[in-house]
Structure formats: structure tokens, C-alpha cells
Symmetry: C2
Subunit: 234 residues, 2 copies
């Protein structure tokens, strides 16, 4: 994803957290780090007058036609949220939880996290080639290399799928890491404080009941091994 790493983010007032600006990072590399570590994102969109945060998978094309890379979301053509999104400014939030920050006071409790917000007006992807490419990226985002091992989408499947694109242009990244930040008096009182690291980890691959006897593909084995990562979060 290095092709896009040198394009600076363009935070605007609405994508820049007013609070805790010191945590905001303007480097595109930080944005891609958050996206790489995310399994899903939350699309914030007003549906029938109520703001909803819809969990959904995503894909990123760092060399996409939109300035600085393209974020893809998809869903059913019958989805109200995907239907209403292109008529409004929406946002997409990525949240990676890295740990529970256990301070000496309730007030200073926090989370270690990496998060990103992308804001913009989504574009409905209509170009057939871009649609096929985005669908492959969506599969490969889950298990790298898997799209090439599957049959191609059918005409019926393509007709049932809506694809949205959002440029990775108006975005902001926030993160917190490290120890709790306690008041001097609380530290002096000799009370324990620390962090409980957290991470998403994989269990053993479960072969489907109707695929009994077939070997787990190498791409899936590799993804599982990556997500089991030796000693847990650190």
C-alpha cells in the first residue's frame, strides 16, 4: 500500500476531532495501519431520519481512481442504507481496540485504540470492471489471495449487489497507547495501575459440514496462522 503513503491526508473541520487534537495523526500511513488492522467498519448514515452505525466489511484500493485511494463498501441492492447513502454525506469509522487502560481513578480509565474516520459523499460504482475488481478486493481483504481461488460472480449475483466507493481523502486518525495517565496524588498514593492488552485472535479453522474431507486451502491456513500469532497481543 506504499503507493498512497506519501499522499497527505486532508483533514477538514468536520473530520478533525476538536477534542484531544494531540492524538490526531495526519499521516496516511497511520490511516492504512488502522484499515489493515480492521475486520469491519461502521458506516454512519441517516436512514429514514435516524443516524445508524452499520457494521460492514470493506476493501481498500490504494491505487484507486479516487485521489489517495478508494474505500469500497457493498451490500444488497435492497439495503435502505446503501440506497440512501449516495444522497448524503456519510462517514465510515474504523476502530481497533488494543487494550483496557486501568487507571487509579475512574475518571482516568481509558482504552488503547487506533481509530479512523473517513467522511464524504459515496459514489455508486457502475463500471463493470471496477465492480469486479472491488468484489475481488472485498474477498481478499478477508483472506488474502482467496478471490483467485473462487469462481467468478454470476450475472445474477452482480445484479443483486450494490457497491459504494468513498475516496480516502477527507480522513482523520486518532490513537491512544501506553500507560494510564494518572494524577500525581493518585500515583503518590501507591495504587496499582496498568493496561490489559487486547487483540482479535483466530481459533481453529472449521471446515463446513458439507465440505467434509476437503483440505483447508493454503490461503486460509496462512490467514489463520497470522491471526493466531504466537503469544497473543502485546
Amino acid at each position: 500500500m506504499s503507493t498512497a503513503d506519501d499522499v497527505p491526508l486532508s483533514p477538514t473541520p468536520r473530520s478533525t476531532p476538536r477534542r484531544e487534537r494531540e492524538r490526531a495523526q495526519s499521516e496516511r500511513a497511520a490511516l492504512y495501519d488502522v484499515l489493515d488492522a480492521s475486520f469491519l467498519c461502521h458506516l454512519a448514515v441517516v436512514v429514514d431520519g435516524v443516524p445508524l452505525a452499520l457494521p460492514t466489511v470493506f476493501a481498500v484500493d490504494p491505487a484507486g481512481r479516487d485521489h489517495g485511494g478508494t474505500l469500497y463498501l457493498h451490500g444488497s441492492v435492497a439495503s435502505r442504507s446503501l440506497l440512501q447513502a449516495p444522497a448524503q454525506d456519510v462517514s465510515v469509522t474504523f476502530t481497533v481496540l488494543d487494550g483496557l487502560v486501568l487507571a487509579r481513578s475512574g475518571f482516568n480509565h481509558s482504552m488503547n485504540y487506533r481509530s479512523a474516520v473517513v467522511v464524504g459523499r459515496p459514489r455508486v460504482v457502475e463500471d463493470p470492471d471496477e465492480r469486479l475488481r472491488a468484489l475481488d478486493l472485498l474477498v481478499d481483504r478477508v483472506v488474502p489471495g482467496r478471490a483467485a481461488t473462487l469462481r467468478r460472480p454470476t450475472r445474477k449475483e452482480l445484479a443483486a449487489t450494490r457497491l459504494l466507493a468513498l475516496p480516502l481523502h477527507e480522513a482523520s486518525v486518532k490513537l491512544r497507547r501506553g500507560d494510564p495517565e494518572d494524577e500525581d496524588d493518585d500515583v503518590a498514593a501507591g495504587v496499582w495501575a496498568g493496561v490489559l492488552p487486547l487483540a482479535v485472535r483466530a481459533g481453529e479453522v472449521v471446515t463446513a459440514a458439507d465440505a467434509g474431507g476437503l483440505a483447508v486451502p493454503e490461503t486460509v491456513r496462512q490467514r489463520a496462522a497470522e491471526l493466531r500469532a504466537a503469544d497473543g497481543p502485546g
Copy 2:
């Protein structure tokens, strides 16, 4: 949390997913299961005209004054989102990712998950006793029993904190579990399919640099052990 388990949810058109109703579950127990398994939630709120999904910690009072239990969120009094939320209907989404569903076609790829959406107009919590109780619940949500081991909030900390309450009344739950659901032709083709289970797991507790030599409290040890859970997700 059993006191609230017998209160039926009251899904309304806006809290009921129109798509995939078969996955919608109307039992309050299912809602509490999702909340119990969540470390954070996403508050969907329109801030300065743009819908945002803000990751935030939360607490639940199953015996709260609101019908069927109360959801608490908190933040700085300077937070634009918490300031603007009580003037509008908002929603809060809880998303627990349980696995990657690796089907025989891209189209049938999915996630195993449990999610909940609560919709309503938040109430600013003003009552001093309710505020103290909600702040304790917020700490105990992270590490059960921890609030009682900490000093009490100061007047200054209380003045800096805004607390919102939302009744757990208008809510819906969705989930997916189990094997991929593939087309008959794809199954017949003899291609592998399966699930890669995922779960949030804890690493080793990290004592803060300025708390060196102090023993990790029993409440934190227990929480860490619970989140390390033997054999990973299954």
C-alpha cells in the same frame, strides 16, 4: 441481568432490519448477550450535519429507571457529539465479530456476528446519585468489581463529565452463526468452505511504569484470565 430478561423488546420499523428478518431476534436475553460480549459500542449521531459513528465505552443498568434497563454513555462536557445527541434521535450499535465465513463464492462470503441496535432520544443524567452509580457501572463494565477499589470521583471530575442515558427499550438484535450457505452447484463442485472463528483475547497484564513493584489486583487478574480463556474462540 436476569431481572430484565423477561421484558420483551419493542422493535419498531426503524429499529427492525428490513432485510434478513429471519436473523432478527426479539428476546431481551439476546440483547444482553450482545452487550455482555461487547467492549465498546458506536454512538451514531449527527454532528454539525454529518452522521458519525463514535466508538465509546458503555455501561448497562438492568434495573435502571428506564423501562427494561438503561444504557449509559459518557464523555467530556466539551464533546460536540454528547452535546448534540440529546437534541435528536440517535442509535447505538454493538457489534461482536465471531468469525469469517468463507464460502465457495465471493457472493456468499459473510461474517459470523452478533449485533444490536438501540434507538432513542438520550437523556442527560443530572441526578447526583444516578451519576455516581452510572460512573461505577462504567468502570465495572471494564473490570467487574474494580470501581469499589478506586477513590471516589472528585467534584472537578464530575463537573467535567457528561453522562447520557438511553432506555434499552427500542432495540433489535441480529446474528449469524454456523457454516457458509452455498449454492447447490458450488457444493457439488467439491470446493472447500468453512469458518475461521475469531474472538477478542487478552495478553499479559502490563503494570504501569510508575506502579512498579505493586501487585496486580485480584479483580484485574480475574478479568485477564477470563479474556485469555483456554483454547481461543470456538
